[in-house]
Each structure stands twice: as structure tokens, then as C-alpha cells.
Symmetry: C2
Subunit: 135 residues, 2 copies
């Protein structure tokens, strides 16, 4: 049997407002993501009820946004989380191939980011150099 605190860790749910506050977004954004098919929280009557799975999914979504993924790209990925449990060989093979492409794309972005980071560091070095040459 699980303790009360342990249960509270996995059974906890959130309202839109609570989750929006915790994630640093607005309730409008949460409703928008739902309308776009990115999340599908449970309902208590008409009120949305988010659980840990929804919250994890949203963290993934927001992380993707931070380095430039569009919502449709993100939707494709989060859909794959569900699809990976498929039992159809053909389906899994298609998924795996697509995941490979997505991985390639992400690695390309990683290179672009790293390169920009190096250039920013270089400009900073130039600044320091010039500062050293001043009185």
C-alpha cells in the first residue's frame, strides 16, 4: 500500500488556473493547446481537470517552444508518445523512421545554436580586449 504523501504525489490534480500559474502561462494558452489537440484534460462537469500526465506533456510542449519548435511540430512528437505503444509492426516502423528524421532536425538546430553561442562568446572577447586597451 502507498502512503498518503506518496498518493498525493501521483494523484494530485490541477485546475486551469493552478496549472497556468505553475507553468507560467495563461489559461487562454491552456485552452488554446487543447483546441489544437495538444492536450486533452479530463472534465469534472464542464471544468477541466489536469493530472500529472497532462502536466508532463505540457512541460514537454513548453520546452519545445523555447528553442523554436512550432505547435504542429510539437503535436507530432507528443502524438508519438502515444503511438509508440502500438502493436502494429508497420505503424512502429513508420514512427521509428520519422523519429529518426526529427532527431536529425533537432541535432541540426543544436549545431546552429552552439555556433551562435560561440560567436556571441567571440564578440564578448572582443569587448574585453578593447576594454583592456583603454586607460
Amino acid at each position: 500500500m502507498t502512503s498518503a504523501t506518496e498518493a498525493s504525489r501521483t494523484d494530485r490534480t490541477w485546475t486551469v488556473g493552478e496549472l497556468a500559474d505553475e507553468l507560467g502561462i495563461t489559461t487562454r494558452t491552456l485552452r488554446f493547446y487543447e483546441a489544437e489537440g495538444l492536450i486533452a484534460p479530463a472534465r469534472a462537469g464542464s471544468a477541466r481537470v489536469y493530472d500529472h500526465r497532462d502536466r508532463a506533456r505540457l512541460r514537454l510542449i513548453l520546452r519545445g517552444k523555447r528553442f523554436g519548435m512550432s505547435l504542429s511540430e510539437i503535436r507530432e512528437i507528443v502524438d508519438m508518445y502515444d503511438g509508440a505503444a502500438s502493436s502494429e509492426r508497420r505503424q512502429l516502423e513508420i514512427l521509428l523512421a520519422r523519429l529518426g528524421e526529427i532527431g536529425e532536425d533537432l541535432r541540426a538546430r543544436e549545431r546552429d545554436l552552439a555556433r551562435t553561442l560561440r560567436e556571441v562568446a567571440e564578440v564578448a572577447a572582443q569587448c574585453r580586449e578593447r576594454l583592456d586597451q583603454l586607460p
Copy 2:
């Protein structure tokens, strides 16, 4: 003295169409970036003439876009390339501080990207596992 081929490497210029083709964007985008103050090509009459510096700047801009930087963020960085040659101590110090913040932001994006990449790899691993369990 420099050879003819060497001179052609650094003296070459481009028209909007040529440069757009080479960079894989449209002429509209180039004009838009100019209107936004991101580039300022020379003019031959009314026609735009891009040189190597313009081209390098555009590569930087496009690279930034690929991992989610907005045009205003990018403009701030490209402006710093020019500002780093300043001779005012105060100006250089401000620049350096801002460059530090930008670096921090970029590293945060790098972490988000890496984390997403790991998760994508994990989903791929799940796919392969399920495939192995099938006939």
C-alpha cells in the same frame, strides 16, 4: 598584391535574387529584414547590392531563426557586432553585461533542446523494444 581569384572571393557582390536563391529565402524576406533594420546593403541607383559582409550577417540571422530567436533578439545581437568596436568604456561594459545575459539564455535553450532530444531518443528506443517483442 592579391590574385584575381582571391579578389573575386572578397569583392563579389550579389543582387537580391541571387542572394535569395543562395540562402534559400525569398527577395521579400531580404527586403523585410532591411526594413526591420537587420541589414543595410549598398545601392547601385535604386538596386540593392549585397557584399560578403551582408551575406555573413544574413547567415547569422538565418541560423538564429532556426532555433527560435525572434528578429528583434537577432537584431540586438547583430547590432552588438558593430558596437563591440566602440571606444567608450561605459558602452563596452553595458554590451559585455548584455552579452552575458544572452549567453545564459542561449545555454538554457541548449539544455531544453538536449533534453527534448533525449526524450525523442527514448521514444525511439521504446519503439524498437516493442518491435523486438513482435513475431
